[in-house]
Amino acid sequence: MTNRILAIAKKEIIHIRRDTRTLMLAIGLPVILLLIFGYAITFDIKHIPIAVCDLDMSQKSRELVSMFAYSGYFDVVDYIPSVNKADALLNSGKCKVVLVIPLNFSKMLYRGEKTSVQILIDGVEANTTSVALGYIQGIMQMYSSKILLDVLNKAGFSNQIKGMPPVDAKIRVWYNPELRSQNYVIPGLIAVIMMIITAMLTSLTIVREKERGTIEQLIITPVKPYEIMLGKILPYLLIGLFDMLIVFIVGILVFKVPFIGNFIYLFIFAVIFAVCGLGIGLLISTIADSQTFAIQLTLITSMLPAFLLSGFMIPIKNMPGIIQFVTYAIPARYFIIVLRGIFLKGSNIFILWKEFVFLSALAFLLMAVCSKRFKKKLD
């Protein structure tokens, strides 16, 4: 039995080796994605280009502008003389925010009256917009309390206001104190890459034989269906695990992602997860009649969910209930929790037991369905 599985695996390996480019690409894709996510993408929202229309031109208005500029969140890219210019600036995309400080701004402030500044935001990038709104709120609050202290100081209350602001938040960020987005993204990337590679490559293996007409030859051999199945996925399991190692090593050495957990746990989970990916790919391969169809199906059943429904980029908590429900069927969802837990928090298997149970159940289920379909197909 083991012999026949190995024979099939050997045959598949010969296929893969003959096609060196596919192999190179299977290794190259993780590297490219790593480089992009490591160097070219940050989730941080900083340096939002802002244009200022300062109609007051006073010391107080300039103070406000400099608070925006020094916050690190905004880059003042332009000063405009009148609000009319704002439209063209926003439409061209040269700035995302326009801050309009009205005439009499400082006068009103000194009189202790409520004043307002106008803020125009380009809302196209919805997420950036909400984050920018938060920053703006924060800056305005800081500015307001500064003015208040100024006024009280001038009124001779310097003694009484020593304790202001009365409550002081001492905030500490654990697991990722510098808030580097790489620490968050790169562990998650392992799941995405493994899912893409395992599902994509296996989804083609059996259809390819169907398309070329070699599947009949396989069927008439004494090899049993499940032996074909195992033999077919074995080489891709190795490729998937190899990809995991690449991301793991490059992530730690080049991108300095901390790894405080246990590699053994990571490896065990990676194998179970790879089996899920291989199972999906194999299942698709038994359903599809052409490689084109197989790829399209893999795209929407494994790659898209791995990116969108796994919590890789989008928090699952915010999704509508029905979509949240769907995420429970996505293997990457569990593996990403595991990866981040092991990498950043040093979680062990006792903390991750739920993920372990769900992931193993999914792997088992997929394999069971595969072997059932496989038999039917071949008999």
Binding site: R21, L25, L29, I32, L33, I36, Y39, A40, T42, F43, D44, I45, L109, R111, G112, T115, Q118, I119, L120, D122, G123, V124, N127, T128, S130, G134, Y135, Q137, G138, Q141, S144, S145, L148, A155, F157, Q160, M164, P165, P166, V167, A169, K170, R172, V173, Y175, L179, Y184, L204, E211, D289, Q291, T292, F293, Q296, L308, M313, P315, M319, R340, L344
Partner: protein
């Protein structure tokens, strides 16, 4: 001309022979649309928060009430004195822990600075940054409340100056993420489906060995190419139409610009995607190679185009100029949300045209040299 027609017909029969394929080509965009339209919501509200209240005073409870009233935070439970915060974070039972020290109210009353400790799970850096901003705001507001009280106690009556921002959000007033994502789906689908289908369809002939049969017919290479590309261009246009309709009907995304312009410029974008597919088919022997090579190009394209991650945040923005999808995305979003016309979009259109013509010319040249 007739010969092109026959190739088109053959390609149609081949692509749609499998009824499920038809379904997939048109169902896939809808699924992606639903996922991206409904699932993408980066708002950070209802952060699960655990509290250790060592003060148990009126003031500390008031503070906790303010935190939970802010809508950013849900107080999920109170921790006991000796509970391990690490365990809480590892099990993901809470994402933030607030610790109120025992002398909180005493210091507040005495007009001294009174610290509150906040611990945030930073594994999601983006999330943590925003949470830190939000909790800072809540604490500041609470502070203000107490300073105002203090000033009142001092019988000091002064009008407190205050600046409040009046914010107006343009183009997408509710900052709805579906307005941002849904138009973008057009670009993604067009790139993924048309380039992948083209690359695989042509490589398939080579893999199965039918390319030789095609070559020995009197069909010229250019006719063969046109016959192969036109069906996929039509599929592309159908998908654009489908998504534009769904965007309005399902998601109510405003369409401020001209649909006609959108279709015309989609034609330019198709040049680049079909060209990419054609090019890959000239460098691939098997469909698997074609598939992997296509992915090698489209995945970075999607990530760097600004589809998810705003280009303004990218450290190396220069590379994005080499990605045709970037221009198309800008075009689509501007037409949908800003109603921009060609007067603003012409540089993007020109860039698409240049990329499209360049890659098609390159692949036609390669194809002629080595069709089989």
């Amino acid at each position: 001309m007739n010969r092109i027609y026959y190739i088109i017909k053959k390609e149609y029969i081949q692509t749609f022979k499998d009824k499920r394929m038809v379904m997939l080509i048109f169902v896939a965009p809808i699924i992606q649309l639903l996922l991206l339209g409904y699932a993408v919501n980066m708002d950070i509200k209802h952060v699960s928060t655990a509290v250790i209240d060592r003060d148990r005073s009126f003031e500390s409870r008031d503070f906790i009430r303010d935190v939970s009233a802010s809508r950013y935070f849900d107080i999920v439970f109170y921790l006991k004195e000796n509970e391990d915060v690490h365990k809480i974070f590892q099990k993901q039972q809470a994402e933030m822990v607030i610790i109120i020290p025992p002398d909180f109210s005493r210091k507040l009353k005495r007009n001294e600075k009174s610290p509150v400790q906040v611990i945030v799970d930073g594994s999601d850096s983006n999330f943590a940054t925003i949470v830190v901003g939000n909790i800072t705001q809540v604490v500041r507001r609470f502070s203000e409340k107490y300073s105002t009280k203090m000033l009142e106690r001092m019988k000091y009556s002064i009008k407190i100056p205050r600046v409040n921002p009046q914010t107006r959000i343009w183009y997408n007033p509710e900052a709805k993420s579906s307005n941002f994502m849904v138009p973008g789906v057009i670009c993604m689908i067009l790139l993924v489906v048309t380039s992948l289908l083209t690359a695989m369809a042509i490589t398939r002939e080579r893999e199965i060995g039918t390319m030789e049969q095609l070559i020995v017919t009197p069909i010229k290479p250019i006719e063969l190419i046109l016959g192969k590309l036109i069906p996929f261009a039509l599929i592309g246009f159908c998908q654009v139409g489908l998504i534009v309709a769904a965007a309005q009907l399902i998601f109510g995304v405003p369409m401020k610009g001209s649909v006609l312009l959108l279709f015309a410029l989609s034609g330019l974008a198709l040049l680049t995607t079909l060209g990419l597919g054609l090019f890959i088919s000239t460098i691939s022997q098997t469909q698997q190679q074609a598939m992997m090579s296509t992915f090698m190009v489209i995945m970075p394209s999607i990530i760097l185009s600004g589809f998810f991650f705003p280009i303004t945040n990218m450290p190396a923005q220069i590379i994005t100029y080499f990605i045709p999808l970037r221009y198309f995305l800008h075009i689509i979003r501007s037409i949908f949300l800003k109603g921009s016309g060609l007067d603003i979009l012409w540089p993007d259109a020109l860039a698409l045209l240049v990329f499209g013509v360049a890659i098609i010319a390159l692949s036609v040249a390669r194809f002629k040299k080595r069709p089989g």
